[in-house]
Amino acid sequence: DTAVSQTPKYLVTQMGNDKSIKCEQNLGHDTMYWYKQDSKKFLKIMFSYNNKELIINETVPNRFSPKSPDKAHLNLHINSLELGDSAVYFCASSQAGQGGSPLHFGNGTRLTVT
């Protein structure tokens, strides 16, 4: 019944490793996002996809690569993990790329890089 689900919930890994986070939404939304929330709770957009096409790519290191196989899925792959990548990553979706649509967030993935 979950609207936006992401896995895993927790991810603990060592520096230099590569990891992926998966996200799926069953709301029929056209747009999906990845947000990063740091230890100070700042929510910063990383990427946005509209119907499988990348529409927002903020200043994110190219070690981060999103992939959207279809409009219901948006995965995030991170290469060569660094300590500073430790954060909570939220997937979200909205009805369209317009500002009138609320964001529906997943439960988050807490990434800890040691």
């Binding site: 709770k41 929510l43 957009i45 939220f90 790329g97 500002g99 609320p102 964001l103």
Partner: protein, 109 residues
């Protein structure tokens, strides 16, 4: 670039006291949304304001959008322990949301 500032950063209140958080944008916004994030949880949409000077109420929560559409506020009357969490505003400009830094509310019973 676009900035959305939110104050205060923290607010500690006694249960029953009122609470207000303020959001200010460096530019005019198309609309503004408010979210609540419980400790350990994810942001949950509360409301959206679109019109200049708009005021909306949800039970004990009152939301306002400034006349110039550059600021907004959330006021909670008679806080309860269930109000604990971080409140974020999010302004829409061009094609993305700009989140405020959040106000963490703690309510002492």
């Amino acid at each position: 670039g676009q900035q959305v500032m939110q104050i205060p950063q923290y607010q500690h209140v006694q249960e029953g006291e009122d609470f207000t958080t303020y959001c200010n944008s460096s530019t005019t916004l198309s609309n503004i949304q408010w979210y609540k994030q419980r400790p350990g949880g994810h942001p949950v949409f509360l409301i959206q304001l679109v019109k200049s000077g708009e005021v909306k109420k949800q039970k004990r929560l009152t939301f306002q959008f400034g006349e110039a559409k550059k600021n907004s506020s959330l006021h909670i009357t008679a806080t309860q322990t269930t109000d604990v969490g971080t409140y974020f505003c999010a302004g829409w400009d061009f094609n993305k949301f700009y989140f405020g830094s959040g106000t963490k509310l703690n309510v002492k019973p």
